[in-house]
């Protein structure tokens, strides 16, 4: 499987993504600079975490206009697989590839810790290796990870089963205490209607090595390989 990992000025999780993805069986990952106007031949586009353009104006607001994003949109429209992690999720929402928006954490603090994340459905290329209800241990690191969408959008997401991941407690319950940032419905990750574009705030690329405290990120990446 070939992964293309985008790089914007201020992206800082691209190296972690390249490392984790290159270590997957029969896989290779290469970086793609944001000024490119076309993607290399690839199976998956990864929009990594970081602080693209310093989070100026709004997180991801400027990166969405980078030249490479036209190619990413076309790739997504053709059914190509796109995964946006943290700032990548923010960029995909700003670009209109995913509904809703990410705003400042409810408690205003930058939260950097491992959290329990529940898989809502295995019905996606990103979660097919995990039965519904599987609780993953994944790190989050963000100040603007609070998912917001209006009631009509939330209903639409529910009807089309687009919520793939939710914050939960260690028992897999989507409680207030299990919600680190105030996200509506404890939403941690969603996909689009055609289920080929996925955005999530947690960092699976930081949970692929026992040295880092969890290998649950592999559940997502290995689902892509399945």
């Amino acid at each position: 499987m070939k992964f293309a990992v985008l790089r914007f000025p201020g992206s800082n999780c691209d190296q972690d993504c390249l490392l984790a993805l290159n270590a997957l069986p029969k896989s290779s990952a290469e970086p793609v600079w944001h000024k490119e106007t076309s993607l290399p031949s690839c199976d998956v586009v990864v929009v990594p975490g970081g602080f693209s353009y310093g989070d100026y104006l709004r997180c991801g607001a400027i990166a969405r206009f980078s030249p490479i994003m036209q190619a990413v949109k076309a790739f997504a429209e053709d059914g190509g697989t796109v995964i946006g992690i943290c700032n990548g999720f923010q960029i995909l929402c700003e670009a209109g590839l995913l509904p809703g928006a990410l705003v400042r954490n409810r408690d205003l603090h930058f939260v950097c810790e491992h959290r329990h994340i529940r898989v809502e459905t295995p019905d996606s290329r990103f979660t097919r290796n995990a039965p519904a209800g599987t609780v993953l241990n994944l790190p989050i690191a963000h100040g603007e990870g609070c998912y917001f969408a209006d009631d009509a959008t939330l209903l639409d997401l529910a009807i089309h089963r687009q919520v793939l991941l939710r914050y939960c407690d260690d028992q897999g319950r989507t409680t207030e205490a299990g919600n680190p940032n105030g996200s509506r419905s404890n939403i941690a990750g969603i996909c689009n209607k055609t289920r080929n574009v996925f955005g999530l705030m947690p960092h699976p690329e930081r949970a692929c090595d026992p040295l880092l405290g969890s290998t649950d990120g592999l559940v997502i990446f290995e689902s892509l390989l399945a």
Binding site: C93, A101, F148
Partner: protein, 77 residues
């Protein structure tokens, strides 16, 4: 020509910054205020005869995120 854009979070969106400011005002002993919301002011210098429709597009596509924000646009000579 000058354009001034004000961007405010929608009333339906949680504004923790605004809430924090309201708390700080309270701690400073200011008389009780209602809700506080924090937004942005963006000033843009433009050549004469700039296109208002294009400006509105920029406001909608870049300067604000219509999912979570509303904007107002004032143009002056």
């Amino acid at each position: 020509m000058k354009a001034v854009v004000h961007v405010m979070p929608k009333l339906s969106v949680l504004d923790p910054q605004g809430a924090a400011v309201a708390q700080a005002m309270k701690h400073h002993g200011l008389p009780h205020t209602g809700r506080v919301r924090v937004g942005k002011r963006i000033e843009i210098e433009l050549p004469a005869g700039a296109d208002e429709a294009a400006l509105n597009t920029i406001c909608r596509d870049l300067l604000s995120n219509p999912v979570i924000e509303d904007y107002t646009l004032e143009i002056s000579e």
